[in-house]
């Protein structure tokens, strides 16, 4: 059995690999969409915070001997708190200005974070082992699937669904969305809107850090790891529709698949295919696949 000269097992394997990369894209673009959709901040520091998440996991293990499972919770909390400090001290004063200021500030922040980690840890990367409980492979017949990669899909799906439920189905989520629509009115009901904004930013940042911890065992923990992925993630958010949570998650997975398939049929183009899709989507549906036309 062959599909355009590619044996079916190889093809299936590639689909699965695409889905796994899509899982990373989904968690990252979810955080980005959340921050943009609810706070109107274009968070260029997202990639750097993803990198910081991976480094915090590495440091927790290296300095304090704290392993993977606690880090999966601890690192996002630590980086999320750091995010809240950033929001309070740096982003708050820019809230009433043009979007561009927030974009420039977060971009500068990303450079600072990367520069600092590069200074202390160099660029050759640090190691982070796959936890013992997730070692090994599943034999799926058509491919060997590392247990850890399967876990990446499961963990991302849980986090994406939980976040969606939180925003769409809970009272807290409803208040958040209301605060976006009309902050003054929500405030009149006695809700502390500035606090809500800080917490939301922190939560988005925590999602980036969570993706960083997930990535640490399979990619090199490296100060530059965030800058490689952030542009792609931005493209995915644009394709999904700026600010659309559902759009970010679905297009994250879809574009992971799309990139995976390109790696089989035209590997050289695999790093630009997402941008080609973005261009097409912008022409056909300027608001993105799931965005509401303004």
């Amino acid at each position: 059995m062959a599909l355009l000269d590619i044996p079916l097992p190889v093809f299936m394997g590639q689909l699965l690999i695409g889905l796994i990369n899509g899982a990373f894209y989904a968690v990252l673009s979810l955080g980005l969409a959340l921050i943009f959709g609810l706070l109107n901040i274009v968070n260029f520091a997202h990639g750097a915070l993803y990198m910081v998440g991976a480094f915090v996991a590495f440091l927790l293990l290296d300095i304090m001997g704290i392993g993977y499972w606690p880090s999966l919770l601890l690192a996002p909390v630590i980086v999320g708190l750091f995010g809240m400090v950033i929001e309070r001290l740096l982003l708050r004063p820019l809230a009433d200005l043009d979007h561009l200021y927030g974009l420039l500030l977060t971009f500068g922040l990303a450079l600072l974070l990367e520069g600092a980690f590069r200074h202390f840890y160099g660029v050759s990367g640090e190691r982070y082992a796959i936890p013992d409980s997730l070692q090994g492979v599943f034999n799926l017949g058509f491919m060997f699937l590392p247990v850890y990669r399967a876990w990446v899909i499961v963990a991302s799906l849980i986090v994406c669904i939980a976040t969606w439920l939180l925003i769409e189905k809970t009272r807290l989520g409803a208040t958040m969305r209301a605060a976006v629509e009309n902050a003054d009115l929500v405030r009149a009901f006695g809700v502390n809107v500035p606090l809500l904004v800080t917490v939301t930013y922190g939560f988005g940042v925590a999602l980036a850090a969570f993706a960083g911890v997930l990535a640490a065992p399979i990619y090199s923990v490296n100060p530059l790891m965030g800058s490689n992925i952030i542009i792609v993630v931005f493209a995915i958010v644009v394709i999904g529709g700026l600010g659309s949570i559902k759009g970010a998650v679905i297009s994250g997975f879809l574009l992971g698949l799309c990139e995976g398939l390109t790696r089989v049929f035209w590997p050289e183009a695999s790093n630009i295919v997402i941008f080609v899709v973005m261009a097409v989507v912008l022409v056909v549906r300027p608001a993105g696949l799931f965005g509401k036309a303004a």
Partner: protein
Amino acid sequence: MKTMLLAGAATALVTPALAQDGGISDDTIKIGMNLDMSGPYSAIDGEGSVVAAQMAIDEMGGEIDGKKIELLTADHQNKADIGSNIARQWADQDKVDLVVGGANSGVGIALQEVTSEKGIAYINNGGASAALTNENCAPETGIHWTYDTDALANGTAVAMVKEGNDSWYFITADYAFGHKLEENAMDAVKANGGTVIGNVRAPFPTQDFSSFLLQAQGSGAKVIGLANAGTDTQNSVKQAQEFGIVQGGQALASLLLFITDVDALGLDAAQGLTLTTGFYWDQDEKAREWSAKFEEKHGGKPSMVHAGMYSSVLNYLKAVKETGTDDAKTVVAKLKEMPIEDAFARNGRVREDGLMVHDMFLAQVKKPEESEGKWDYYNIVSTIPGDDAFRSLEDGTCEAIKNN
């Protein structure tokens, strides 16, 4: 006649004010280091290269016959235009006598062009592409020191094919360096009776290699050759282990592996890899002694680029001392007469085309239980004599020496 005059005037203007009649120009020997200080190659190059060059200068006593040796450093940011602009400024304003560095083949080739045009000496350390002494050669002023893609491919590919690993699939970084390394390795495989089953070009840089690794796995080749470097290599080796490629019976050949990569990967992931290197800190007593001194200053063992940097600067200064001038052509000609033998180089000599031919080492990464600690990573399998490791002069394509 008028044009002749104009041409003459123009030549007079562009000819740099270097020592024309011997002696040291401007009473200083200025060395400009054009390095990757912050990018992907800054671990193998960067600050460590400055430390290594300074060690060479200190060894000469900081001066030659009362003329001070001065060191300038700059970050080329892995961009050819930035690198060559710095070199231009160094040549025109700072009166630099020697440019060293160029870890990144693209930058290295650009630097060789500028220095050759300006008539100052250039020694490439860290750039891999064999084009530096072939189609882009500048034999009167330019030398390629530490290693090149030919030597890397010859060492690793030939050794593995001879062991019976005779069918290859390549995962190649999709830019000039990767293409050259892949081409050299394919030639070496075929010349020794092996076959190339296929290849895939991965965009540079790539974080997730699993897709390419699965294609390589599916090809059934006995060896998966990695024609990439730095974090690309680290990610591909790490992920190959994750997908059980080596356990599945396929061998992995990393065509360019630095000791810092092995350090970042850890021996669990890197064990068993065959590699070719121009230098290993534990290769012999002289290397150990120098590397210990380097480690004291830098805080880690030297990469082969660091050691090559020390060696090239030291020998350049020795040649300046012997000739009594810093005129580029005179010094480079002198270097071609001198045997190159120091903490880095074994049986070294600089050939007519500018290639520093020296012994290379075929090494294998140790198993975790064999290693006595950090940096104890390689077993040296064999020494490859320089003439076997590097391409022969006859097979080269350097036009400038063919015309002579």
